[in-house]
């Protein structure tokens, strides 16, 4: 049992999950399992339903039907303590630009009940901002913000780590840092799920692939070399179907 009162779960399961926004179908009967140690790539074109899926997993979006099980239990059964075991890094960075890097981390650490001193110092160091912690986030480059946002999302050592387009706007060096951090997380037993449309970045990083289009799951299999070719073939088949 973790500090949150929620047992560390080894898998997260989507069972026949659908989600509609009015008459628009964002997800249709998606069933998917991700396990500890996986880096699951949610791939698909823009508007495929990847972000909705991430929102459902993060408990921010309620499914219209179906359910999500965290180690066999639903979010409702686990209560708000479940959110202590979830970390989310979205394209929007979830940082307050008017506050300094340290103030941002301090605030979120307190919100998650994490002690602020050593954890925040360590997070700033990992983000490469150890000597710039007092500066406003407003003055940081996109890469610096992204690294800070990554550490903010991981400050409370989540079990389920969700990334929505984590590589947008990053240079090669920053992409390498984020990718390295993802591998570390998976190796430490976290369940890592990345939603991206960038196949080149996903290739070689993800260990499982789930391909989504028009809210439907077209593919769920272990990742293999030649991800782009596989993606094209599945999309083409779905187009003919």
């Amino acid at each position: 049992m973790s500090k949150s009162g929620v047992s560390d779960f080894d898998s997260v399961q989507l069972l026949d999950v659908s989600r509609h926004f009015g008459r628009r179908r964002a997800l249709a009967h998606v069933s998917l399992t991700a396990r500890a140690g996986d880096i699951l790539g949610l791939l698909g074109p823009n508007g495929a339903g990847k972000s909705t899926l991430i929102g459902v997993l993060a408990t921010l979006v309620a499914p219209t039907s179906g359910e999500v099980r965290y180690g066999g239990q639903t979010a409702h059964a686990l209560g708000s303590g479940l959110r202590r075991r979830i970390g989310l890094l979205a394209h929007e960075l979830h940082l307050y630009p008017e506050l300094s890097a340290r103030q941002n981390l301090d605030f979120f650490a307190r919100l998650y009940g994490v002690e602020t001193g050593a954890s925040v110092d360590a997070a700033l160091d990992r983000a490469g901002l150890g000597d710039r912690g007092h500066e406003e986030v407003l003055g940081f480059s996109r890469g610096m913000r992204q690294r800070l946002a990554l550490e903010r999302a991981l400050l409370h050592r989540p079990r389920l780590v969700l990334f929505d387009e984590p590589f947008t706007g990053l240079d090669d060096h920053a992409v390498g840092i984020v990718a390295g951090r993802l591998r570390e997380l998976a190796a430490s037993g976290a369940i890592v799920i990345i939603a991206t449309h960038d196949l080149d970045l996903a290739d070689g990083l993800v260990t499982r692939v789930a391909l989504v289009r028009d809210g439907r799951l077209l593919l769920d299999e272990p990742a293999q070399a030649g991800l782009r070719a596989r993606y094209r073939s599945v999309i083409a088949q779905a187009g003919h179907a």
Partner: protein, 225 residues
């Protein structure tokens, strides 16, 4: 957990405001301009229109409050930080309470400047019953902020939020405004009608309890997409 989270959110909003002073200056400037313009219209040859002061005070509070609500949540929209708050393992209603308290504090600061200005420009004896006036303003501001914060949070991702906020907020806060204006008018009479003012304060307090119960109850389901 609930109180500590609410205070943490309030403290965070305060820290941002100390750095930017954006909402405070905008709200104060707007409120003061509002009162000054009304004073030009309603004070003729040094004589203010009878009973105008109470209405103008509450109009300034409501308009400035609407501006503050919009700006407060605009800040949470930038960077999608409201989502980050909702993802925290704290009761979501505590996040709401923290944001709402921030709006109350901001409006209280505005009122500290507005009350003397209205008293001066409209020759209104607003300080004749200071405790009752403070109770009226506190209960009215709380009621307005409770409803306003809920709607502003709901609309944070809506494209037409700037239009929708007043459309939803003003009809819902009409009882608060009526009670505030009537209660303040009672205090401005000579001699002050304290019994009527106390009745309106009681009504405002009841509205606050009802609004707060509904807001805390509905915030989480409303904010879950």
């Amino acid at each position: 957990m609930f109180v500590s989270t609410a205070l943490l959110v309030l403290k965070k909003d305060f820290a941002i405001e100390v750095r930017s002073r954006e909402i405070l200056y905008t709200t104060l400037l707007f409120a003061l301009s509002c009162v000054l313009i009304f004073s030009i219209a309603f004070v003729k040859e040094g004589e203010p229109l009878l009973d105008a002061a109470a209405g103008i005070l509450w109009i300034a509070v409501e308009f400035a409050g609407t501006l503050a609500l919009g700006k407060t949540f605009e800040r949470e929209r930038y960077g999608e930080t409201l989502r980050a708050l909702l993802l925290a393992p704290a009761p979501r209603a505590a996040i709401y309470a923290g944001k709402m308290l921030g709006v109350v504090v901001l409006l209280a600061i505005a009122e500290v400047l507005l009350v003397p200005l209205v008293a001066l420009l409209f020759h209104a004896p607003l300080f004749a019953q200071p405790l009752l006036l403070v109770a009226l303003l506190a209960a009215g501001t709380l009621g307005f902020s409770i409803v306003g914060t809920l709607f502003a949070a709901m609309l944070v991702r809506a494209r037409s939020r700037d239009v929708m906020l007043p459309i939803l907020l003003y009809p819902m806060t009409v009882p608060v405004m009526i009670a505030g204006v009537r209660g303040t008018s009672a205090l401005l009479q000579s001699p002050a009608d304290t019994a009527t003012a106390v009745m309106w304060i009681g009504l405002l307090t009841s509205l606050d309890v009802v609004f707060m119960t509904i807001a805390l109850w509905t915030f989480e389901p409303l904010m879950t997409e």
